[in-house]
Chain length 350, copies 2
Amino acid sequence: MKQKPTLKLIAKELDVSVSTVSKALRDSKEIGKETKEKVKAFAKLYNYRPNNIALSLKNRKTQTLGVIIPEIVHHFFTTVISGIESYANENGYNVIVGLSNESFNKEVINLDTLANGSIDGFILSVAKETLSKGDYHHLHETIDQGIPIVMFDRVIDDIDCDKVIVDDIKTSQRAVQKLIDNGCEKIGIISTKDYVSVGKLRTEGYLKALEANQKNVNLSYILKIHDEFSSDDNLEALEQQILDYLSKNKDLDAIFAVNELYAVTAMKVARKLGFDIPNDIQVIGFTDGVLSKHAFPPLTTVSQNGFEMGRTAAQLLINRLEKDREEIEHFETVIVNTNIIERETTRKLK
Amino acid sequence: MKQKPTLKLIAKELDVSVSTVSKALRDSKEIGKETKEKVKAFAKLYNYRPNNIALSLKNRKTQTLGVIIPEIVHHFFTTVISGIESYANENGYNVIVGLSNESFNKEVINLDTLANGSIDGFILSVAKETLSKGDYHHLHETIDQGIPIVMFDRVIDDIDCDKVIVDDIKTSQRAVQKLIDNGCEKIGIISTKDYVSVGKLRTEGYLKALEANQKNVNLSYILKIHDEFSSDDNLEALEQQILDYLSKNKDLDAIFAVNELYAVTAMKVARKLGFDIPNDIQVIGFTDGVLSKHAFPPLTTVSQNGFEMGRTAAQLLINRLEKDREEIEHFETVIVNTNIIERETTRKLK
DNA sequence: CGAATGACCGCAAACGTTTTCGTGTTGACA
DNA sequence: TGTCAACACGAAAACGTTTGCGGTCATTCG
């Protein structure tokens, strides 16, 4: 096991000073040709690489991004990470991930332990518990310390930072409109509680679509799933809630679900209740993950383009990091495109 | 925007020396009670936290684990990461992830950029391209540099390091045995090419099960999917290969697939061909992901306990990191338990 | 021949810590 | 009054870099 070579080691070995070695390796014109070659050859031979930590300390930059997400076992978030990684790597940044598991405390801790010099900036999607508590002091504090934050998907309007979102309202409206265009009359929505921003917005889009078509809303068609921030298996609870809902609303001929889990679970329950999909009831989901693609029947769904969201978020963050402190430019909110992927849970009724 | 306080700043502000501040905060008995209190109060007020990078440089430890996986948009890998995160966090470590995208080059680059002081050790699952090339110089080099590696799932026998795997042979044998016990006569397997170690081993298990029951193997029952390391959508190619296979082997009454994607795709194709599951053909998959859980019908599958694999890997690595250099203890290979989760694609035939 | 110019290189500071080893000031005691 | 221990604190080195500045030659020019 050979030790990692350092400048000091090379310097001693070659009987020159540390600064000479450093300059030689960076091709400074202060150093003579011969010395340069000697040093470079030696460095190559011993496979010298400058120590990242030392560089970070000197430059006060770590070239790493901190990504904090509610959970990682989740298709949407992983595609976003994938996008972040892709852009970050292209630009010489690394990515360190922290999981909040939808917990406020873990989110705070993650922010805290990473903000101590480990990262240059954050990309995050806010935990449900944080959203429901409405306590954002940790976010404000890290921003106050000069560490930029980029939020994606689950964002907080009141906080001044860059954001990457989809136009949830418009997208949902389009999805529901498609259902209406298909000839559906009684359209339900399965959403989250309102403190989850995206759930709330998507519900708004649903309402707007109905309104735009002079359909009146039936409150019993609106289901807001109750879950306890648990990313674990409360699948039964979910199924039960949907079962109750569908049993009470047997006249539904379409369902818009705000995520794919709700969508496939709804399909499962509907099938149990004897519905045929898409003939008796049509379904559109949100988020184009594996579930949608491999569901039976394959699910028509809204694609959020998570990969692009990730890349955009990374780009916003890195741009800000590499800008001079003084260009105090205001914050951006970029809206990434969505598109509806038609599969087999929707069809045009004549 | 207030700057992050440093020891130096506190020292100047309180008109003491840096070392006094440091000692006071660490409760050294060298420092007088009054001074201690003064310093601590000030530090608390300004929310002082020691700079991680400086600590890393000083201690030559980063308290960070590097995790390199083939892809992140993949249920199994994310559960493993989840397990790694969990154990790492409990022990004061952070996790930085790198994606190889199944590419040899990206794997090398990732290893290289992280090995320069950014991390203390690696946890990785080898890229398919690396496995097929058989070029492991990068792994040897990092180990030579004194950076420990823990491999999981896709491991390389020849390399001396800790490993976390499941007993693929035995597990597969058990899965196939269940099919046999259920009364299936003509059992096929959908596997990967042999250079993917787990695919090879699972095929061996399949063969062993047949052998143990004095069944002779029908080579046309064995399908080894050809893919080009592409983690993208070559779904059509996959479907086509399975379609050809199933069309040629209409007498199959059971399929064992070495991952869940193959399993659900097989189900999809089988259904198209008019098979009823599980009455005409039974299916068992490998890896208990979302797909299996939400497939139609819900898929009987082998659970690899990814979370536990992750925790175990992290534990092995951290143990080694925190051990004295001299305890040269040999390397461990721990085998984590698997279990078959019975759902609705299998049934006992009378 | 003296001075100026350049080429080449080393010193030292800085980034933020921790820790070893002083050093100066007390007070007690002989 | 002189000695010594205890106490409270500071100086400096170290981790591995980068970089401004200064220094030492030899060469060249006036």
